[in-house]
């Protein structure tokens, strides 16, 4: 190998590394610095060591928000992935109808999250009279989805699925498109059932897109702010106050940025742990 070849990968990686180092890792380091200080009203007051972490990890509100995030992320991840995968398979063929339907499914993904969640809230609200149009005929006209902790969480999960299934669909569709169609035909000739072909051809060949989709969705759901902020406001009774919403409130409403950053780093660590577990699971069940 020539000497230039040795440096080639680094030359290719240089722009990305420079950008990430200055605009992501730099602020992250400042954030870590903040997390060790008492930062009130955006101004650093005093060095406090681990006190912010201690405080965060013993706060019942934060522990509640971690649990809420776990429930939400798990529910959203499973539902979004399954629905997205089903959509990808359903809309795989290249007919005009399927292409039009892909665009249709993408619209919730394309509208600003803020507005999407505002519209969903409007639809879910019993008082607006819209949810009554669906629930009324089912004899549930007096049900308020958003006023009950359990159903409010379900609504939040629905919001995630409604918006992000399209993302999973696109990712998996791109993967499906890279599977040589010949494989399926050959298997069909050999008499393999649709389920067999899915298990033996589609799934194994989609390993990488599946992992990427799952990891991306997981990180997205753990870090999502807009859905709970707009749809449920974290309520009722903190039932949907996710950890990132809590972090946002600590930083930008309570103005205790040190604690907010400590929590952000806890979330960051939790994210890494979750992704690690996910990747391990995949590695154990087969080569990536």
């Amino acid at each position: 190998m020539r000497r230039a070849e040795l440096w080639m990968p680094w030359r290719l990686l240089a722009p990305a590394i420079v950008l990430e180092a200055t605009l992501v890792l730099g602020p992250l380091l400042i954030g870590i610095w903040y997390s060790l200080h008492n930062v009130r009203f955006f101004q650093i007051r005093a060095y406090v060591g681990w006190a912010n972490y201690q405080r965060i990890l013993t706060s019942p509100d934060v522990l509640n928000s971690l649990w809420v995030t776990f429930v939400f992320s798990l529910g959203a991840l499973v539902l979004t992935f399954v629905v997205g995968f089903a959509l990808a398979l359903w809309l795989e063929r290249d007919g005009r109808g399927a292409t039009a339907m892909r665009a249709v499914v993408l619209v919730p993904y394309m509208i600003a999250m803020l507005v999407g969640s505002m519209l969903l809230k409007w639809v879910f609200a019993q008082e607006s009279g819209l949810s009554g149009m669906v629930l009324g005929p089912l004899g549930m006209g007096d049900v308020s989805i958003l006023a009950d902790p359990g159903t409010a969480m379900a609504a939040l999960v629905f919001n995630a699925m409604w918006r992000d299934s399209a993302f999973a669909m696109i990712m998996l569709l791109a993967g499906l498109k890279s599977i040589p169609p010949g494989l399926h035909l050959a298997a069909r000739v050999d008499g393999a059932s649709a389920w067999m072909r899915f298990r033996r051809i589609t799934l194994p060949l989609l390993r990488v897109p599946i992992v990427i989709t799952l990891v991306r969705l997981l990180i997205h759901f753990v870090n999502i702010l807009t859905f709970p902020l707009i749809l449920t406001g974290g309520g009722p009774g903190n039932a949907t106050e996710t950890v990132v919403l809590k972090m946002f409130r600590l930083g930008f409403q309570d103005h205790v940025l040190g604690q907010a950053n400590a929590l952000a780093l806890v979330v960051f660590a939790a994210n890494l742990a979750l992704v690690g577990v996910l990747l391990l699971l995949f590695r154990r069940t087969g080569r990536l």
Partner: protein, 439 residues
């Protein structure tokens, strides 16, 4: 032709285009003195307030040749935070508008200049006497320094539908006390289409912990104990008075059923929308929303909207008129501080206050403005009502205490009581701790 070279050319071109405004702005800043102001108003738009601001800028620039005012309109919810962030990175505008909820943030940082020598000390003697609520200035004074100047005053009052009151035989006198409000609300809650669900509720509430606003529980507490803070901004929320007020609010949903249970999930905006939709007979709303409710009133006559005082716990003592609204702050490190202060004076002097009221439709903060003949016209009745309330029961939150999320603490407490998760006392203890942690 290759893809990469094309992309490079496009990138280079785009980078140049993207960097342009910065270059242009540098050039513009060379002109004599340009004072930059952040506000939520856009003087280039059509509207009473916008026109008022535009006129002020024009008259100021005419009187001060060589000084130009550049307005950069901002999203109102992030104005305070961005001002402090700008201060931290030596990049704040010369003047920033701040809403009352964010004064705690400004007054607890060193971002604001002392306007006492630059503005207040220059006032003629009668200026102080002319103020409807002199305490307003005191709440912005820290250690003898005046850190903000009130521009627009707003408050929360009881909005009611006259038509529904008439149908139910309720009079304004019935709404003087919280007890009377409950009785009236019960009379006005009705199921008009016979589906077993009320479609007009007696009292509207928005109790979410996001996009929240003033609620009866807070007003009841302030009315009973005079405020939410003791000396040194010590939160006073876990009290018997607050418990009474919170219980009153939760009872609207659980016992009296004059407020929909869904209120626990509704923002203040949601609740105002429902009021405009004709679903509520009464609600505590910021007077600044009067216009919007009238404009969006669906299915009822907008002229039936009336505004009246916040109820009290007894008929002889009206509820508090808590004054909030918008304040001007000058950036402490501004190289154009003198000009900035001069414009702040120009935006808050009697001539400006007259413009804010007309065409700006703002509640007058000076007796002399309230006494003007046009204020007696029927169209200004809501403004007059509120101004009179300022004079009778006007009060303001202590500027240095951080109460930005205290309303949300009350809302969370109400949610928990309504859902049966906590007792009133426990919920308030938690609310008090949350507010205290922010000081």
């Amino acid at each position: 032709m290759t893809i990469v070279i094309d992309r490079r050319a496009v990138l280079a071109g785009a980078a140049t285009a993207l960097a342009m405004p910065a270059v242009l702005r540098e050039a513009r800043a060379q002109s004599p003195v340009t004072v930059t102001m952040w506000t939520f108003l856009d003087p280039t738009k059509d509207g009473g307030r916008e026109r008022a601001l535009k006129q002020m800028i024009e008259s100021f620039e005419a009187a001060n040749p060589g000084v130009r005012i550049r307005v950069e309109p901002q999203v109102w919810t992030t104005l305070g935070e961005k001002f402090v962030l700008g201060h931290n990175s030596r990049n704040a505008p010369d003047i920033g508008w701040v809403n009352a909820e964010n004064l705690g943030l400004i007054l607890n940082t060193e971002a604001a200049a002392d306007l006492k020598p630059l503005v207040v000390d220059q006032w003629p003697a009668e200026r102080r006497r002319d103020m409807l609520v002199p305490s307003l200035l005191e709440s912005m004074t820290v250690g003898g320094k005046v850190l903000a100047m009130p521009i627009m005053a707003a408050t929360w009052a009881l909005m009611v539908r006259r038509d529904l009151m008439a149908q139910a035989g309720v009079t304004m006198d019935d709404l003087k006390t919280w007890g009377g409000v409950v009785v009236a609300a019960k009379k006005m809650t009705r199921d008009t289409n016979g589906d077993g669900q009320p479609d007009v509720w007696g009292f509207g509430l928005g109790l979410a912990t996001e996009r929240f606003s003033m609620t009866p529980a807070v007003l009841g507490t302030v009315g009973a104990q005079g405020g939410l803070f003791g000396d040194g901004c010590k939160a006073r929320i876990a009290t018997a008075d607050a418990a009474k007020a919170l219980q009153w609010q939760a009872d609207l949903i659980t016992t009296h059923r004059v407020t929909p249970r869904e209120a626990v999930a509704m923002t203040s905006d949601d609740a105002i929308d429902q009021f405009a939709a004709g679903r509520y007979a009464m609600q505590i709303v910021a007077n600044s929303r009067f216009e919007q409710i009238q404009r969006t009133a669906a299915g009822w006559n907008k002229d039936d909207l009336a505004i009246t005082a916040v109820p009290g716990w007894s008929a002889d003592k009206p509820g508090p008129t808590v004054i909030a609204g918008w304040y001007a702050v000058a950036w402490r490190n501004s190289p154009r501080l003198r000009e900035a202060a001069r414009f702040i004076e120009h935006m808050t002097n009697p001539a400006a206050m007259a413009l804010w009221s007309n065409p700006g439709t703002q509640v007058p903060m000076m007796r002399s403005i309230l006494a003007r003949p046009e204020m007696a016209e029927p169209r200004n009745a809501p403004l007059r009502t509120v101004a009179e309330l300022f004079g009778v029961s006007g009060t303001s939150m202590p500027g240095q205490c951080n109460w930005a999320r205290t309303f949300a603490d009350f809302n969370l407490a109400t949610q928990q009581v309504v859902l049966g998760q906590r007792t009133v006392a426990d919920a308030l203890k938690q609310a008090e701790a949350a507010t205290q942690d922010r000081q």
